[in-house]
Amino acid sequence: MSGAQPVFEVDGLKVAYGARDAVFDASLRVDEGEVVALVGHNGAGKTTTLKSAFGLLAPKAGTVRFAGEHIVGHDTEANVRKGIRFVPEDDFVFRQLAVEDNLHLGGFAMGREVGRASVERVFEEFPVLAERRKQRAGTLSGGERRMLSMGMALISEPRMLLLDEPSLGLAPVLVRQVMDLTHELAKQRGLSVLMVEQNIDQAVRVADRVYVMRAGRIFLEETADQMRARDDWWDLF
């Protein structure tokens, strides 16, 4: 994008699990309206980076800025209220609760600002969910659950989405749908998206820029065009 300040900036992030270091000195940025993919091998540290940026894990060192404001150490409630939403890679709906209750919970941190009207708006956007509003989320299909998880994140009208492996467990046609939705959210609604993915094909298809992570370090940053131009990606992993 232009020279405007990035909406999301991670600088020198170090994360450890107990004594074991998992992420070393990770830095990345997301500009407004961008879709940025963070790709890499199983266990490269992508999810750890994402969770630490959001506040689900505490980093050992480093800074994270959202719209210029430092957010490390803030709890997830504060981050949600600021407009950042996180969608986990699995177990991303409340299975025992009904679809509409899930949506209400998606907006919980916003308090009164998110009410019935917001839930209805999500249903308008995802009619499939509306048909199943009273159904228990555990009984939905994989794709419908993923859709619900997106709805739960969007209900608070966020500025930024952190998606952890959105394609996981989905059939190819559904993966395309999810990626297209992500692209649309960014381009038509101005959301900024940081997406961790193992499905590089699909991620690169809709992303603007790509970071590649290996063994806890981000060692490559390219535009999506540059990535797409490569013959293959095997040497990256």
């Binding site: 409630e77 025992q96 919980f108």
Partner: protein, 290 residues
Amino acid sequence: MSLNALPQLLLNGFFAGSFYAMMALSWGLIFSTAKIFHFAHALVFTVAAYGAWMVASQGMPIVGTFIVAAAVGALAGLAIDRGIYRPLRRRNALQLNVFLASLGVLLAGEAVIQFVFGVQARSIQGFTLSPLRLGRAGFTTLEILVVVVSWVVIGAVVLFMRTRQGTAIRAVESNPELSRAMGINDEKVYRNVFLVGSAMAGVGAVLFSLQETASPTMGIEPLIAAFIGAFVGGIGSIGGAILGGLLLGMMENLGGIFLPGHLQVIVAFLLLFIVLLVRPVGLFARDTKA
């Protein structure tokens, strides 16, 4: 078999069942939300009873005694969570270790109480009994008090679960990690369930001490009734805990139709084992996949 005793046994079963329903709910809420086998709930119960005894013997009216017991219980339960469980949570301790820690707190706490207050049983003053009759069955206003207080407390908790905080509890109960991702403060939820569950135990402690007495080891049997009721009825289900407690109370007393008195303690465990074999999610749980 003694069917003449049936009306009395049915009534006794309802009295006991009402108390067990409240206790099962108090313990089950903590277990299903924080995933802790809170053995030390028995200690909270005992501490609240002694707090109640202390104010009651100074002449506090019974309403005040209940309030003090609920408050003392709530604080004791919260202290145990903050002091023992939360540090273990933060370290991702094994469930077995948490259970052992809880058991350890209970045993140590009972020893302290015995040391401070002595071994003898204490009765709580403040409520005078009047006898009542229903056909062939006899009881007193104390049994009525137990029933009324138990169901009022249960009702209050059911209403509380409909509030915003109750919704947050349901979320954390269902999926703590996702709840945090949604911006729900899970530590606040744990605090709330310990406060509510422990306050209920405090109220139960007064009811128990009025019917019997307060003593250092008083907590273990109500605790066992509570967790059997909760498991039999179905963990994670408020209605389940309530119905499980009621069923336990009824069965313990109706067992009296064919079992000699000294075997009635077996009834509770028999019920639990049968439920675990036949329908382990609990008799009244709504979904079989839990």
